[in-house]
């Protein structure tokens, strides 16, 4: 039940964020650079202010800025005469290098990461189940053909394959990431579903369906599929998790989402340089969100599997 609530909450965040209700202005620079989290700043006020002063000193080299007044005037005119916005010194979950709110970034990142993870996992499950069902059920040359494709896909090193598809698709963005993950990820599900179909197609209930005249398609998808769906569901949740992580890798390598958007992956990609400076809150926020989502999804799929099985009711 708890996992259901968390999953619903995450999906709500995803939808609201996509609809622009929350975290629309995630890219606004609302705080000072590396603004610490509020509660953290209050307990370690002294060290923080010292660090900030140290940063300022480095900034102005002790020389008065010759074009300072002019620059301030231009800035004021560009922002509509309101003068430079007051930047907050602390933010709920801290800020990043440009002073963007980590909380908003996490919310926006939830939208992107979950969308990529869920859509790519669904695409994968669809391809894997369809291919696996055809290969396992019909056997013979159909099975040979799919096994050949399977072997080709699994024989190429994963990252190389991903990069090759990324290069072919060219365009950088969420849709590309989903297609890359979908086209490379189906092999595992294919193998499992094929094995399940091999096992089930000779079961007596399938023979009995054949005896009453059920067509091949009906036997494959109405009779057998519900009986192997637990395998697909478990794989689906595992792949959501896997693809959230893969998106991180792709974004880190520069093949993922672009700079105009944010995901947990791109947040984590900023982490190495921050950690050296002791700014841990961005990676902490992104990791916590990811851990929550991954755990919730795993528990949720377990519950779905149990709920769909009439034997356990």
């Amino acid at each position: 039940m708890g996992s259901l609530a968390v999953v619903v909450l995450l999906l709500a965040v995803m939808v609201l964020s996509a609809a622009g209700v929350i975290a629309r202005n995630w890219s606004e620079e609302v705080g000072v650079s590396y603004a610490p989290p509020k509660w953290f700043a209050s307990t370690t006020q002294d060290t923080q202010t010292q660090e900030e002063q140290a940063v300022r000193k480095l900034d102005d080299y002790g020389i008065p800025d010759p074009i300072g007044p002019e620059l301030a005037e231009i800035n004021a005119r560009l922002t509509g005469g309101g003068g430079p916005q007051a930047r907050a010194s602390t933010l709920p979950l801290g800020g990043d290098k440009w002073g963007r709110d980590v909380l908003r970034k996490v919310l926006k990142g939830t939208e992107v990461s979950l969308f990529v993870g869920i859509t790519a996992a669904c695409l994968t499950a669809l391809l894997g189940t369809l291919f696996g069902a055809l290969a396992g059920y019909f056997g013979g040359w159909v099975d040979d053909a799919f096994n050949w494709i399977y072997s080709v896909f699994t024989s190429i090193p994963y990252l190389l394959l991903v990069l090759a598809i990324a290069a072919v698709l060219g365009h950088k963005g969420i849709a590309t990431v989903i297609l890359i993950l979908g086209f490379t990820g189906w092999t595992g599900i294919f193998r499992l579903v094929r094995a399940e179909y091999l096992k089930h197609k000779v079961r007596e209930y399938v023979l009995a369906a054949d005896a009453v005249g059920a067509s091949d398609m009906r036997r494959m998808f109405v009779h057998i599929l519900p009986n192997v769906s637990h395998v697909v569901l478990v794989q689906l949740s595992l792949h959501v998790v896997l693809f959230i992580k893969s998106e991180v890798i792709l974004s880190f390598l520069g093949f993922g989402v672009g700079v105009e958007t944010v995901s947990w992956g791109s947040m984590l990609a900023e982490a190495p340089s921050e950690l050296i400076l002791g700014m841990w809150w961005q990676i902490a926020a992104a990791t916590a969100a990811m851990a929550l989502a991954v755990t919730a999804f795993s528990l949720f799929t377990d519950a779905v599997r149990d709920a769909l099985d009439p034997r356990l009711q």
Binding site: Y205, L207, A208, A211, V212, G213, H223, P310, R311
Partner: protein, 501 residues
Amino acid sequence: MSVLAVRDLEVKFGGFEAVKRISFEIPEQGTLALVGESGSGKSITALSIVGLLPGNATVGGEISFLGRRIKPSEVRGAQISMVFQEPMSSLNPVFSVGFQIGEVLREHRGLSRREARARTADLLEEVGLARERIDAYPFQLSGGQQQRVMIAMAIACEPKLLIADEPTSALDVTVQRQILELIAALQARRRMAMLFITHDLGLVGRVAERVAVMRAGEIREQGPVAEVLAAPRDSYTRMLLDSRPRGIREPAKGDTEVIVEARGLAKRFDDFEAVKGASFSLARGRTLGLVGESGSGKTTLGLLLARLQRASGGELRFHGRDAAALPPLEFKRRMQIVFQNPYASLNPRFSVGATLTEPLRIHAIGGGEAERREIAAGLLVKVGLTREALFKYPHEFSGGQRQRIAIARALALGPEVLICDEAVSALDVSIQAQLLNLLRSLQDEYSMSYLFISHDLAVVKAMADEVMVMKDGEIVEQGTTAELYANPKHPYTRRLLSAAA
């Protein structure tokens, strides 16, 4: 002094009483047969004697072995040993049989590897296997040979008491007989007492002096075998005895039209010939019995007849026309099949209503969904269930009820021919009798023809007008039931009949 004395034994799993205060004794070198249907608590009784009950069981009462009271958690492998029903799943497939028998000797007797090996070879010889079999793996042995290995393992430590839990139920009749003879010989030679657990009252007279009949955790009746079998005092024992199929089917009068005719029907899997040229014919309202041991090809022949597998040779004629020329759907409407395992033949994800309306929908029988539902409800009533069953799922029913549902599904299309592939073999004998009666009355009502496949000679004798005997893919003998049972010609038929007698 008795070897084993059980007094007021009680086994509970949570609130469920599996065994309710039962008492019995086994004298030295004596044999007690514990008889009961599935779920009667007979295996639980055996497990509580050897201390192998699962951890969630609570045990009450007293078990004394050789005059000494034993604790329920004590595992007693050296003095009491056990032979189980399924030799295939009781043996570890990755170790040789010699290693597995030797392990018992090394563990309990502290023998060295070399000594254990020599002793193992002797044991194999004693149970009727060649000494060279010591290095064989379980998959290289037949079911009967595997059971011999299990027996060798059980007697390795010279136990005082042997518990045999359905040791022959998974075996063919001819093998069954050999194993029973082996057990009896070993028991006499080694002066063991035995607790023989079985569901088959027919075996009891052959192996035991005393019998205890169990039902729902209670012993309903116990006494000397001859007395109990001849004059049962308990109503349940009487019912069990009456349920055993007996008698012979009344010969049908007159000739009816031939519906199915097979000529040289054959099936080959790669280089294995499962069915070698079977020829027979089946007339309206008649039952053709098909008897054979496991692996004889009788199920494959049934599937060929239903055209669920493509024949690799021969011809199947339906009403005088080539069956292959008929539209597949029409053929299937007129030819239905009931499978052996009621747990596997119903889709667990389909409600009973969905299972029964599916054939109607596929064949466009009935005006709409509501009408089909009515037809399905009528079928359920016909096979002895209520219409409430429509909304339930298969797992909510017992084995016998599920088989009724499977029969209802086959009836839905109003077939002319019904193939019963071991349709009652997985069921308890009392349920079996009910289903055989149901099948008979349905046959009279719809004048259906049955191909009745079974390994059980008594069932076939009671059901069939004509009988075919199959061995290694070949029909070795066929004839009318009366003729074949009274006067078997083929040596294999003779062996089968004498083993089952």
